[in-house]
């Protein structure tokens, strides 16, 4: 009985010592999307939110061509949960990334068009991200399409 009591106390101490501090809720939402010009090396830089990365991988994933980024713009919007929604013209999918240890890790690839988007834009509509394309609207979460509005 004494041993059990000691083990319980020890496990409580260990649990308290190892628990992670969580600040919740945290709103990561950008008020408005950012439209970034891709440079010759395929990189984009966002000054206000201080993020830069290479887009070649995304274009290769979407168009099977890592040089397709040339003369393109990338639209990025971060939602309240901290996921990055990334889209560009002619994309059939919207890419949802999560920031993780110096990398953008693909969380989800949401199919949004069969032919490719002509004039996509992202709006912050908390708790969703709104994708508009020539009058059509989609409400998205990091898990996928929440609702289609026409």
């Amino acid at each position: 009985m004494k041993l059990i009591k000691t083990l319980l106390l020890l496990s409580l101490i260990i649990t308290v010592a190892c628990s992670t501090l969580i600040v919740k809720p945290t709103d990561f939402a950008w008020p408005v999307e950012t439209v970034l010009k891709i440079n010759d090396d395929g990189k984009v830089t966002e000054d206000r939110y201080a993020i830069k990365f290479n887009t070649k991988g995304i274009f290769y994933e979407e168009l099977n061509d890592s040089s397709a980024f040339k003369n393109k713009e990338l639209r990025i919007l971060r939602n309240m949960n901290g996921y990055y929604f990334i889209i560009s013209k002619q994309f059939k999918n919207i890419y949802v990334f999560e920031a993780d240890n110096g990398a953008l890790v693909l969380e989800n690839k949401i199919p949004v068009s069969e032919t490719g988007l002509e004039n996509p834009a992202l709006n912050q509509r908390e708790p969703y991200v709104e994708l508009i394309n020539d009058g059509e609207k989609l409400l998205l979460t990091n898990d996928g399409i929440y609702r289609i509005e026409k």
Partner: protein
């Protein structure tokens, strides 16, 4: 019938709504960008507004920008980092107020200029009248002491009037083109055009030219004293300095405008002429002083020539001693030396010439020595009669003594003894 109309209206509304709905799907990014574009356009228009009216019309634009975007205020508040919707519009209004002050200042300067220009015009007229009056007095009434007093009064008036006009011209340029005095920064072509139109509007070049011509004319029609010339020299230095600063900048502004470039060159020539006139005025007046006493010298316009002319005049007079009657020689010396040189030239003009470096100390010494020599050569002639008298007396004395010595000694007859 009424029901039919109602159906028609409702159908129309549905159609309108159908068209309107897609347009509602607007990108937030686009809204923000459009706001920013209009903001920057208004900001630019404020800066480039040419008049107060144009500027005031932008107040309406700012209000319109507010009204058109008020429904997106929440989005814009978040997106216009580091400002927000209200702060951005406030900023525009502040720009507007600041620019408004520029116009108010320009207005005040323009009013000032208008007044200055009127004064310059009045002074131009007045100066011409004074110069003409002085010219008449100089020609007709120089010997009339009453008129001379009036003439001096007129000259004083004209002198201060010319000075005032020069100051006004400098004032006009200063107030018109403050950007010219801002520093060494290059003026944009817009600045240059602005300055050009302002300079033209205010007849700056004509007035500078007019001022120089009057100053030259003033020197020509008046007989000035060294103090006057010193004063004019100071005024000349100031005005020349002003023109040196402005002239270069104006030449730059006027480059490519041929007719006006010529006018700028004319002004440069007039400045040279003015300098020359002031320098010559002293020599001319010295010559006039001699002539006033009947001594007519040939022209001179520098220290070397002056020394040479005076020296050769004295040399001639020295040569003429014995040719001319003694009275004539003495009279010439008296008029030159006593009535002109020591009475007027030496006390009045020599210090000015030395100070202005128009005459060197060596040249002055050489003239003094020459006058002393002339005096020395004249002096023996004046006392000849004493020498002659002394010589005559000496001769008489010697003759008398000689006669006394050489006359035969006669024995005095012996007195016969007196018999008692």
């Amino acid at each position: 019938m009424k029901q039919l109309n109602l159906i028609k209206c409702m159908s129309a509304l549905v159609v309108v709504a159908g068209i309107a709905i897609p347009s509602l799907a607007q990108s937030d990014y686009e809204i923000v960008q459009k706001f920013k574009q209009r903001y920057h356009q208004i900001e630019k228009d404020i800066q480039s507004a040419d008049s107060l009216t144009e500027l005031n019309s932008l107040i309406v634009e700012i209000d319109r920008l507010r009204n058109d975007n008020i429904e997106h205020k929440a989005l814009l508040d978040k997106s216009l980092y580091p400002d927000n919707f209200d702060k951005s519009l406030e900023k525009l209004k502040t720009h507007l107020v600041i620019r408004n002050q520029d116009f108010t200042t320009i207005d005040v300067l323009q009013i000032d200029n208008l007044q200055l220009k009127e004064q310059v015009d009045a002074l131009n007229k007045r100066n011409t009248e004074l110069i003409n009056q002085i010219q008449q007095y100089e020609y007709t009434s120089k010997r009339n002491s009453k008129k001379v007093v009036e003439l001096e009064k007129l000259v004083t008036q004209l002198k201060s009037s010319l000075k005032r006009r020069d100051e006004l011209i400098v004032g006009i340029v200063d107030s018109l083109i403050p950007q010219l005095n801002k520093g060494s920064g290059q003026l944009t072509s817009e600045d240059k055009n602005n300055v050009y139109s302002q300079v033209e509007k205010n007849d700056v070049l004509s007035n500078v030219k007019r001022s120089l011509q009057d100053n030259i004319r003033f020197i020509r029609v008046t007989t000035l004293e060294p103090e006057d010339l010193n004063e004019i020299k100071n005024q000349q230095e100031k005005f020349s300095k002003f023109w040196k600063d402005m002239g270069i900048k104006l030449t730059d502004i006027y480059s490519g405008k041929n007719k006006k470039t010529k006018e700028l060159k004319d002004i440069d020539s007039l400045f040279s002429l003015w300098n020359e006139s002031v320098a010559n005025e002293a020599w001319t007046n010295i010559k006039v002083e001699f002539a006033y006493n009947g001594i007519h010298l040939i022209d001179f316009n520098n220290g070397e020539k002056f020394t040479s002319v005076i020296t050769s005049f004295i040399d001639d007079e020295i040569k003429n001693i014995g040719v001319k009657s003694p009275e004539e020689s003495e009279n010439a010396y008296a008029m030159f030396s006593d009535s002109t040189w020591f009475k007027v030239i030496n006390p009045k003009w020599i210090p000015y010439l030395l100070e202005s470096k128009m005459l060197s100390r060596e040249q002055k010494k050489s003239i003094d020595a020459k006058i002393a020599d002339w005096n020395a050569r004249l002096t023996p002639a004046s006392y000849d009669w004493v020498y002659i008298l002394v010589a005559v007396l000496a001769v008489v004395g010697v003759g008398f003594m000689y006669r006394k010595r050489t006359s035969p000694k006669t024995k005095e007859p012996e007195k016969p003894p007196v018999e008692s």
